[in-house]
Every structure is written in C-alpha cells, then in structure tokens.
Subunit: 282 residues, 2 copies
C-alpha cells in the first residue's frame, strides 16, 4: 500500500525532481507520476499543487518543459504531475488514437467496459494520489490547489468545481471548458461514459459551475493563435458566460500570438504560481 | 544562399522560438538550428548568444528544457542553438553509436574521410552560422558570446579560446574540458582527425588555454553527482590547473547533488545569462 518506486531523480533549484511509480488501487494498474519536492520540505510540511497534463502527455512533459521548478522552489510548494491515463492495460486499441485510451484519460471515472476496469482517473487524482503524496512526502494536505493544460485544464476545473472544500485555488492554460459541446469531449465521454447525458454534465466545467460556485477566483490563460482554440475545441467564452450568469469570479486572459504549446505555459507559469501561492501560503 | 526554412515557430515571453533549416555550404548538407528572438529585436539590433548542445542532442533539447527564453527576453539577447552534427549524410554507421556521427560532431573540422565531407562543425558554428544569423535576424554581430553543455561546453570553450576577438564571453555547464585525456574525446578525435596529435591539441580547451588566454573570466558550473564527472570524462580540475598555470581567470563552481541533466542547467542558467549580459550589454 502506498509503496513508491522512484524511477529517477535529479536535483533542481536545491529541491528534487522525482519520477515515481506505484500500484494504483483504483486504476488497478501501475501508475506513473512526477513530483518536485522544494527545498523547504526538508524542514517543514509544504503545500501541494497538482498539475494535470493534456492529451498525449506523460508525467514528463510539464516536468521538463514548463520551467515550473524555479517557482515551486521560490514559493515552497510541492508539485505533483500525474500521468494522463493508465497504460499497458491490454485493452484492445488503447494506443491506437491520440484522443482516447493511453494519454487521454480525461480525468473521469469510466463506466463503460472495458475502460471502466482501469480508467478511474477522477478518483485517482482527487483521492488516491493525494493519499499517496501525504504518506510519502513532507506535505500539509490541508493546503492543496490544482491547475492544468488543455485536457488537464478541463481536469483541474472539474476537480475544483466538484470539490469546493478540497482545493484552495484553481487555474488553467487553454483548458477544454465545455467538453460536452466539443468533438474531443463528445468522443471521449461517449466511449468512457456511454449515453447518460446527466453523467456527462458531471464532468463538464461549464455545467458544473452553473450548480456550484467557488469562493475564490478562477484564472485561465488562453493563446489567441492556439489551433484548438480557433477550432472551437476549448470554448473559454462559453465557460465565461456561464461564470458570469452565476456570479463566479473568473480572470480569463487572452494573449495575442500565443499557441497551444509549452512555450505559452512557460511564459505565464509565474503568474499561475503567484495565483496559487496567494491561496496556499496565506 | 542563406535562405532559411522555418520549420515551426511559437511565441514565448513576447519573443519568438523558431526552428529553422538551411543548406550549409561548409557541411555540404541541410542543417537545423533553433533561435529565440527576444521582443527587443522588433525595434533594435540585439546581441547574440550561441548555445552548443551535448552528445545525442538536437536543436530542441536546450530550447525546450533550459528555461532560457525568460532570461533572453529579460536581457534582450538573441539565442542561437545549432544542431550537434550534420544528419542523414549517408555515411555508413553514422547513426550507430551515440558518441560518434549523428549527434556527436564535437565542434571540429574532420579531416578523415568520409566524415570530412560533412563534419565541419567548427567552421559551421564560428563562421557560416553567424553569417546566416546576421543575414536573417535583427542582430549586432559585433556583440556575440557562446556557451554550452558537456560536448557543447567543450565546443564553447574551444570556439572562444581559438577566437579571442570573436566572442565577448564564454561559459559552460559540465564541459568536456580535456578531450584528449578522456575516452569520449579520444574516440571522436581518432575518428574525425586521425593520428595527428598536434591537430588534436587544436581542439582541446586545456591545451588551447596554455597558448592563448582570454581577457575575460570563464564561468563553469559542474554538478558533483554528475555521472560523467565521476567517470572522469569531463576533467574540470585539469582545465582549472591549466588556467591557473597561465593566469587565465576562471570561475569554476561545484554544486553538491547536481547531475548532468537539464535540471542542473535550468537551475543555474540565470547566472550564465547575467555573466553574458554583463559582457554583451556593457
């Protein structure tokens, strides 16, 4: 139970980048995640910031590309970066397309066989993984926040909106804001959730915010040259309208010229750390 | 002549990351490089900082992993990251091993056939590429500096030491400091340069510094948990002894716990930008 395998580790900004694996009870298979342990954790219990990655990513992309460790070290925040899905489950076709199966867990609990045997990412990131982190690192589990990118931005928004007391803040880079209204979301929700439209709404940030508002402001950054924004896969305006209709505080920033890549994330990540540090360290 | 193909570009810190290709006259083949154009280049000619990468790298590794764009934007410096070798030359065995051929050009001009037909990386990075940069970007070519990592640290040191007037500053992360004394260097120099030991010395930083000193201090960062340092492939102490014997100013910093990875580079890259900005912007 909660036993970790450390695949590799490297010192970074006086803290430690660690690539870990463990057997996940709820996903019924070994799962990977990355952690950045800030130097402050040597002497105190530090707050936790979860980062959920986008389609096709593993626990490596953000860890390598975002330049986040500098700010995690500066603020004394432990970063946790789960993988985006179970892998090597043996489900036929799990590796065939980029937007379903491996790398595309969509942070929900699948109910359709055979996905439902392994794809329980919502329970994994909101319950099991926090338990694993608390058992293995010097953290204060009462102080945790969450953010993410694209599919992981969707994940961060729904985790926060479904658990107003669990996280102190939320933010996202180019999130999928209304999955039941876009092709990626419809495709994944059909496969994982079947045809129960009421259940679909339980994993859609735009629907969720109409029912539950957060006491804190949501931060979203969106590049205006982002292919998927232009293709209407992300729909931040739809989410903004919903937030406005219910009085949810939202800071939605559009950035001319920026695309969907980690170069956009690297540019604005400092602002996201400031946003979360305000909630986690006050 | 000097015509660029832009493979892709992304906005980053208000400037632009660009992956470029062009036909290299001296390497006799298409070559790749990456550039970061800082926002200041929109209105002025900016100085140039060349980064030479290590074994197995392409122009992508540093561009993605180092977090350098933040500092290049801050100081207004254009970054140029050449690939580490010609590729797809058709030389038999060019892709067979990690430390010779593709990804392992060692920043020298090969004289042994068939490498000599393409592997002219020294002339490429010191002469042809600067001409290409000057022809295509808003730069002040009288202000340029150079740095690198591992094999690219060796490259940066020899480029600077062989051209005391061409660069204003030099630095390196975990450089190969005395290639004629280590296995990587001996293997590569044998293959590319043959048995002329006098020629070997022309590409060895430790030998070069005994003949020519730089008017400016050299900065080197070395992690103490670096596998290749421990295996004596890097030999910074040998270089430090040579510097001391001839009065070359050297700031060699050892860092407990750091390895050979880009997590080490990301940690200390701000210091390297401060080092180069002092020389480039004064």
């Amino acid at each position: 139970m909660n036993e970790l395998t450390i695949r590799s580790q490297s010192r970074c900004f006086e803290g430690m980048v660690m690539y870990c694996s463990h057997f996940s009870q709820c996903c019924n298979i070994n799962m990977n995640f990355a952690v950045y342990v800030p130097p402050q954790a040597k002497t105190q219990k530090v707050p936790i910031l979860y980062y959920l990655s986008g389609l096709t990513c593993t626990d490596e992309n953000f860890t390598i590309k975002a330049g986040a460790q500098r700010y995690a070290a500066q603020h004394g925040i432990l970063l946790v970066i789960p993988d985006t899905s179970p892998r090597n489950t043996g489900i036929p076709g799990e590796d065939d397309v980029y937007n379903l199966g491996s790398g595309a867990g969509f942070y929900l609990n699948a109910i359709v066989e055979p996905w439902s045997q392994y794809y329980q990412m919502y329970s994994y990131v909101t319950q099991e993984l926090p338990d694993v982190i608390q058992a293995n690192f010097s953290v204060d589990a009462t102080r945790q926040s969450i953010f993410g990118h694209s599919m992981g931005g969707h994940g961060a928004l729904i985790c926060a909106l479904k658990n107003p007391e669990k996280y102190r803040s939320v933010s996202a880079f180019a999130p999928i804001c209304a999955p039941i209204q876009d092709e990626w979301g419809q495709n994944a929700f059909s496969a994982y959730l079947g045809t129960d439209f009421a259940l679909w709404q339980e994993y859609d940030a735009t629907e969720l915010v109409k029912k539950t508002q957060l006491s804190y402001p949501i931060l979203i950054d969106q590049g205006m040259d982002d292919t998927y924004y232009i293709q209407k896969q992300l729909l931040p305006e739809v989410f903004a309208d919903a937030c406005q209709s219910v009085g949810q505080s939202l800071n939605l920033r559009f950035h001319a010229g920026y695309d969907h890549s980690y170069f956009m994330i690297a540019t604005f990540i400092e602002d996201h750390f400031i946003h979360h540090a305000k909630a986690l360290l006050s």
